[in-house]
Symmetry: C2
Subunit: 379 residues, 2 copies
Amino acid sequence: MTLREIPVSLGERSYPILIGEGLLAQCPQLVELARGRQLAIVTNDTVAALHEAPLRRQLDDVAATLITIALPDGESHKDWPTLNRIYDALLGHRFDRGCLLVALGGGVIGDMAGFAAATYQRGVDFVQVPTTLLAQVDSSVGGKTAINHPLGKNMIGAFHQPRLVVADVGTLRTLPRRELSAGLAEMIKHGAIADPGYLAALERDMPALLRCEAAPMAAAIARSCEIKAEVVAADEREAGRRAILNFGHTFGHAIEAGMGFGNWLHGEAVGTGMLMAAELSRRLSLLDEAACARLHAAVAAAGLPLRAPGWPAERWLELMSVDKKAEQGTPKFVLLDGLGGTVVRRVPEPLLVETFAACAGPGGPTDREAGPHAGPAGG
Amino acid sequence: MTLREIPVSLGERSYPILIGEGLLAQCPQLVELARGRQLAIVTNDTVAALHEAPLRRQLDDVAATLITIALPDGESHKDWPTLNRIYDALLGHRFDRGCLLVALGGGVIGDMAGFAAATYQRGVDFVQVPTTLLAQVDSSVGGKTAINHPLGKNMIGAFHQPRLVVADVGTLRTLPRRELSAGLAEMIKHGAIADPGYLAALERDMPALLRCEAAPMAAAIARSCEIKAEVVAADEREAGRRAILNFGHTFGHAIEAGMGFGNWLHGEAVGTGMLMAAELSRRLSLLDEAACARLHAAVAAAGLPLRAPGWPAERWLELMSVDKKAEQGTPKFVLLDGLGGTVVRRVPEPLLVETFAACAGPGGPTDREAGPHAGPAGG
């Protein structure tokens, strides 16, 4: 299959996203970037066992030094002590400012390796090699890096653009089904906020995507990256337009935090959060019933949870007031102004309370294989 | 006395440095920046007792919230646990991305508050209110922020420009004599690398500067800031020209590290380091004997130590190989190409070894009041 290349245009910080099959084993652009440098592959134990060997093989000969820093797996390790293991290894091997970090893994690894790159000796180069669908379409594009703080997720971080993103669709076949669905949630989001035609393509190709077929998967990832890259290029540091990427995230973050981070995957919470944001948009007469139903069907087809936790309104409001997109405690919401359009605004509290109630219900993420809902959505 | 304003030109990250007497108590530009925002004064216990009250008084009415985060005093606390106290306080008070941090203190406070601002929620605004001479002429200008790692000083950090620097020369009268001298070392450096006329002014005004007379002190600080701002504007992220600011620092960092951080002040080590770099320049026929002697006299007049530790050459080389300006282990040196001119290059090891020997001798920093050497230098 063909290699796809999506440019991210950020002036002197511009970089390409490469999407294709087999890039872990062969990627000339990565080899060129790595040539003669001190190189550290930052990964976790799980991903290292699955995907490190081909990457090491292609980099071993060209790097001046090549070390692997394997961190423990999981969001619970996205913290300072684990980040510090990266600094320890880099300093222990006397890596200088000319070194290159290669983040091999999902969003947690990308965020941590990226933040280490942002802050090691005040900033060194890094490459994202995302191995989850969520990371390929979302977290590895846009330069957001961070670790968690006990009082909030991603509260300590930096904007630091990678030099290159290498998305090998082959890695997705080793993903648990829930993680695949979580990635699809962000892709549905890209369609919903920016491109109804892409949303239709996702609806059409959903069975093939759930089977990780290379050609439709690479096409969809490329379109998601294009949409995200366009938004990021217009607003690198999230001063305005970039906020639309947070569609579904204010509710979603509340679900993640309230359920305990890790119990719902980020993408799962965003999937349900999008349905809540769509419902809120409908109550504000910004979105019609049919569009709501179509989004609901797409989220269902992707195998994502559909119902929000049945918390009291006070609990929701409390959870949302610490969201980092809030200004002085009052949350703003990204709403759909028709499919493909967005508007960001504050919302009267009673309308929020109605939305919590309308969207609550039994359910939540499950580990079952995609069942009857895995077919194409009706919309 | 007049308020001096030095612009630092960095495109959309440009900011002014204000220099004058009494700015802690009255600074309209700071008040405007603070109006209506969540405000945190980050300081240490020592500085808070001396200087916090007037600053709080002028900000209390205009800020939406005003908290003080007082850290323990000293370079030994420039580490992650102490930095984390800033994050704890900001998150505990639900500070959002629109908040403003005010760094009130010396270089350690500026570096830590600046790094907290660089990384809190991926970057918030901050103001430098430097209360030491070293911070007023050096560390608060240029956007370098960092904390230390057990394996190296300033190894974890970011470039993050302040919105404003407020240098109140009145704060310098509470400084210990050694810290005043340490600041003078960086000012002598600015003269040596960029402006022999300024070096002559420092030589002439040294007694007045050691007495902290407001007018000559403000004039000298302004000229130092101009020189540093010009260099930083040409090379914000230290890719090239900015390296000249490291004159004396490769030797100086080795002295600091080898003597144990905190035993020599940074400026003291830079003072001796400059004499070593000048001696090395002389051995390379870049600098004549008279210029060397003039620099020596200026460093002596500022009350700084003149002789380097008498370590074996291996110890020096080992200490310098971890310097972050080194590339893959080989240190580069900033050398004087005549007074006011610089050249950056690698140097044959035997010449380095000769320099270590030529500059070694008894002595080191002392706490005595400035004695006979405090008079004007002969040059």
